[in-house]
């Protein structure tokens, strides 16, 4: 797990740099090369897609909720109503330069199959997810003795759509297992700031509120 070796040029990522754009969206957008073709899986209201298109990127989306699709179509985005678990299989190999899964992995039924599909459809994948190893989570379980709830994940255990939580460490292990190469990895703290690079790996897993990974095919074992 050579996470600390990744280069992290992240200009303007401090929260005050933008009032309306989400820091994780800015980080994802910064990872995408201009002029490329992108599929955003679970694109919600299309905010990220809109940000990408404003940077000259050809974006497409998949969104489960009709309200989300409505919003996207109203913004002129090309978004298809669909389910990451069932519909990714219908996309041809190598159809996109990047496939993005932003804050959606934990809500899929088969995260492993979804991840494999992302890297079949796209040359690269960008995956962001909430880190269940974040210290606030650990504290709530350890001291409070109840399932963690945070500002960004306010749902209770019985009505949450998030059925497959993982920690950054778990995710890295999965990537190794299915031979996915991590080109870049960033942990963002509660305020959307990247956790400093020179800190040891376990700090990421403790203080990263979410992880953002740029992945490509052919990691370990190939």
């Amino acid at each position: 797990m050579a996470l600390q070796e990744q280069a992290l040029p992240l200009p303007g990522l401090a929260p005050q740099a933008s009032t309306s754009l989400r820091p994780d969206h800015l980080l994802v957008a910064e990872m995408v090369e201009p002029g490329s073709r992108v599929l955003d899986v679970g694109c919600g209201d299309g905010d990220l897609l809109q940000l990408l298109e404003s940077r000259g990127i050809d974006g497409r989306g998949i969104e489960l909720s009709r309200e989300g699709v409505n919003h996207c179509v109203a913004k002129g985005l090309a978004v298809v109503q669909g389910d990451a678990d069932t519909d990714l299989g219908n996309y041809p190999d190598d159809a996109f330069d990047y496939v993005i899964l932003s804050q959606t992995l934990q809500a899929t039924r088969q995260p492993k199959a979804v991840l494999e599909n992302l890297l079949r459809i796209g040359h690269r994948a960008i995956v962001s997810f909430p880190n269940f190893g974040f210290w606030k989570m650990r504290l709530q379980l350890l001291i409070g003795g109840h399932m963690p709830r945070t500002e960004n994940l306010p749902a209770t255990w019985y009505d949450t759509p998030n059925i497959h939580f993982c920690t950054i460490k778990d995710f890295v292990q999965l990537c190794d297992e299915i031979h996915v190469k991590m080109e870049r990895a960033v942990a963002l703290d509660l305020y959307g700031r990247p956790v400093p690079l020179n800190l040891p790996w376990w700090v990421w897993n403790m203080f990263g509120e979410q992880g953002v990974f740029l992945l490509s095919r052919g990691g370990k074992g190939r």
Binding site: V73, G76, G82
Partner: protein
């Protein structure tokens, strides 16, 4: 004794309808012997005419034209009183000032399909070669033939590129065919409750309808006009069967349930005791007032033959290779005639060919007919799609 009430004869004996077939109460584009329509069956059809209506104004740049394609039994009278039935246009909810197809922004064109019976050349029209009604001498036509005729109409109107082609059901088939055949002439496509090929089940339903028409002794081998009859019973049965496929179990239950028609108890007869029976009979008998039986045979056949992939080596995605048209595909949850799976097949093919496509499945219990009814979520999608496409097309916000 068992009382049997058959389907009522049409109140109008078909004169209005027959008149409309050659002399429509709408605009007409005529194409002479020098402009034959090349049909898929190999025949050059000439002369022929296409009846059409327009709403709104074409802008100076000629960039705001929307072609509306009607469904199997629709016609060009989208948003005006129907010349035969006197009823409002079939898509009033969708087309008009402030509606999703906003006539204050867009120039709306709708033509009666080739093979129809409301003024475009079809089996109910006079065959100039014989001076008699075409009947079964009319060549078999296809969805691509209809679209080819529409393209000739658009040429005659001096429109190079359509801002949008919009249609539901058979109209959706035409809309998709437009993008496949003339991608450079279609800026955007809104395809609703349709598919790129007619399913076996749908062909089966159409065959049922055709056999009902042909089984009526008044059909007379298709030459009923010459012999002064009209197979209204057979055509009504065809319409009744088809109408069931346009609805859904839930919609029928909600509208009628098992409620009785103007009575408390069953009559122990084959009278229309149930409201649903009465409704279907009304649908059947009102349909035959305005529709030609042979036209019904030809148009259902055209839908049966429709299979875009078959024209592209069996690979649907190839039909849309390099297409820059933006698509919006809409399906309805309770539509079992053109279920969401059909729409998804189109979306997958468009994805595979890198086309710009949006897709939404609208939740409703109204069945296939939902696209003709007041379904606000559907209107929202249509409006949003056309509006954003309009922006890309450079259509201003303040009217055309």
């Amino acid at each position: 004794m068992t009382k049997v009430q058959s389907i009522k004869s049409p109140s109008i004996q078909g004169e209005d309808r027959a008149h409309e077939a050659d002399h429509p109460s709408s605009l007409v584009a005529k194409f002479g012997m020098d402009q034959p329509l090349k049909l898929d069956c190999g025949i050059d059809l000439a002369p022929f005419q296409i009846a059409y209506q327009t709403y709104g104004e074409l802008n100076a740049e000629r960039s705001n034209a929307i072609l509306v394609c009607h469904a199997l039994t629709g016609d060009q009278h989208v948003n005006n009183l129907h010349p035969v039935t006197g009823k409002p246009g079939w898509w009033e909810t969708m087309v008009g000032p402030g509606r999703p197809l906003d006539t204050s922004r867009y120039f709306i064109i709708c033509s009666n399909v080739l093979g129809g019976c409301m003024g475009s050349t079809g089996p109910a029209s006079l065959n100039p070669a014989t001076g008699k009604v075409w009947g079964l001498d009319f060549p078999i036509i296809t969805i691509p033939d209809m679209v080819r005729a529409q393209a000739m109409l658009i040429d005659q109107l001096g429109i190079e590129t359509l801002f949008a082609v919009v249609g539901g059901s058979m109209g959706g088939m035409q809309a998709v065919q437009w993008a496949a055949a003339y991608p450079e002439r279609v800026f955007s496509t809104l395809a609703i409750a349709c598919s790129t090929r007619h399913s076996a089940q749908n062909i089966a339903f159409h065959e049922l309808g055709r056999q009902a028409v042909m089984a009526d002794p008044d059909w007379r081998g298709g030459s009923y006009v010459d012999q002064g009859t009209h197979p209204h019973r057979g055509l009504a049965v065809a319409r009744m069967a088809a109408h069931i496929t346009y609805l859904s179990d839930a919609a029928l239950h909600r509208k009628f349930g098992r409620r009785m028609q103007d009575r408390e108890l069953p009559t122990f007869s084959f009278d229309a005791d149930f409201q649903v029976e009465s409704y279907l009979r009304y649908q059947g008998s009102s349909f035959v007032e305005r529709f030609d039986a042979n036209s019904y045979l030809y148009l259902t056949r055209a839908m049966d033959y429709f299979d875009i992939a078959a024209d592209h080596n069996g690979v649907l995605a190839q039909a849309f290779r390099g297409v820059e048209t933006r698509f919006c595909v809409v399906s309805f949850t309770s539509d079992w005639l053109f279920p969401t799976s059909e729409a998804r097949a189109l979306v997958h093919a468009l994805n595979a060919s890198s086309a710009r496509v949006s897709f939404a499945e609208i939740e409703t219990d109204k069945g296939h007919d939902a696209f003709l009814l007041d379904v606000p979520e559907f209107f929202d999608i249509a409006r949003a799609f056309l509006h954003s496409a309009g922006k890309s097309r450079g259509l201003g916000d303040a009217g055309a």
